[in-house]
């Protein structure tokens, strides 16, 4: 099996079809991450996954092969999640009277979704990455481009909220 870094290299030199293998490899992972961050909103989770793959392809040249592709992709997916949430909130803030109500398709482990409900977007991301995906705090700080101290304090605040 070809490594992620090798596939990135081949995508850049030979074309986008090699990127298909990476999509196949990480589709479940990104969809799962999206589902967890959006509390089971299937449509949003798919949007996040799609946007993350598109954006990662656009910025593939800037990928540092010293780092793990999965971590880099996770960072991009988190940014896509934040952007989409921002767009969604802008849309919801509009007072559109004649538009039909949008009902998201929710599914998954509702216990977990209810658990992280009191957390804000940032805390949801950090909590999910740390306690579901078991990333190290320094890895989270690295992939989200945040300071280690900031991540630690936000995480402890999140845990405090939930206990």
């Amino acid at each position: 099996m070809e490594s992620d870094e090798e596939l990135v290299r081949r995508t850049l030199s030979e074309g986008s079809h090699h990127f298909g293998v990476l999509i196949q490899r990480y589709a479940d992972y990104l969809f799962g991450l999206g589902m967890r961050l959006t509390s089971g909103n299937k449509e949003l989770a798919e949007d996040i996954s799609q946007q993350a793959f598109m954006r990662s392809f656009t910025y593939l040249k800037s990928f540092n092969s010293q780092k793990k592709f999965k971590h880099w992709l996770t960072g991009i997916a988190v940014n896509c999640y934040k952007d989409l949430i921002q767009k969604e909130s802008q849309y919801l803030s509009l007072n559109i009277k004649d538009e039909p109500n949008y009902t998201p398709h929710l599914e998954g482990n509702t216990d977990f979704f209810n658990l992280i409900k009191p957390l804000n977007e940032d805390e949801k991301v950090l909590f999910t990455l740390k306690y579901v995906y078991e990333y190290q705090v320094n890895e989270i700080a690295d992939l989200l481009n945040q300071k280690l101290g900031t991540v630690k304090s936000k995480l402890s605040r999140a845990v405090e909220k939930l206990t």
Partner: protein, 108 residues
């Protein structure tokens, strides 16, 4: 705390498979190719715009020169000078077009 751990353990075991993965992959690759094609098209469009602008500029400048010359020196028109001026301008335009065509061929 125990309840929190139970929920987290349950969540770790939960999987969320992307539906129709093969189709999803195909869709993303199509979108990527579409975006690349659109970027290439925009680049070509800019080059053609530049080419047309430069062409028009070169095409019109000898005409205005000729008009000025005709207006000012209607009595003794030196047609040889006008032809030389036009030949130089159109020659320059031709070289420019060839160069830009070559550049477009490299980009595509």
């Amino acid at each position: 705390m125990n309840q929190l751990e139970t929920i987290l353990e349950k969540e770790k075991r939960t999987s969320y498979p992307q539906r129709k993965k093969e189709l999803f992959r195909f869709y993303i690759i199509t979108l990527i190719n579409q975006e690349q094609a659109s970027r290439k098209f925009k680049r070509k469009l800019w080059i053609w715009l530049l080419l047309i602008t430069a062409g028009l500029f070169l095409l019109l400048s000898p005409i205005s020169e000729m008009m000025n010359y005709l207006i000012l020196n209607l009595k003794n028109i030196d047609t040889v000078d006008i032809f030389i001026m036009a030949a130089v301008s159109y020659g320059f335009l031709f070289v420019l077009m060839v160069l830009l065509k070559k550049r477009i061929a490299i980009l595509s």
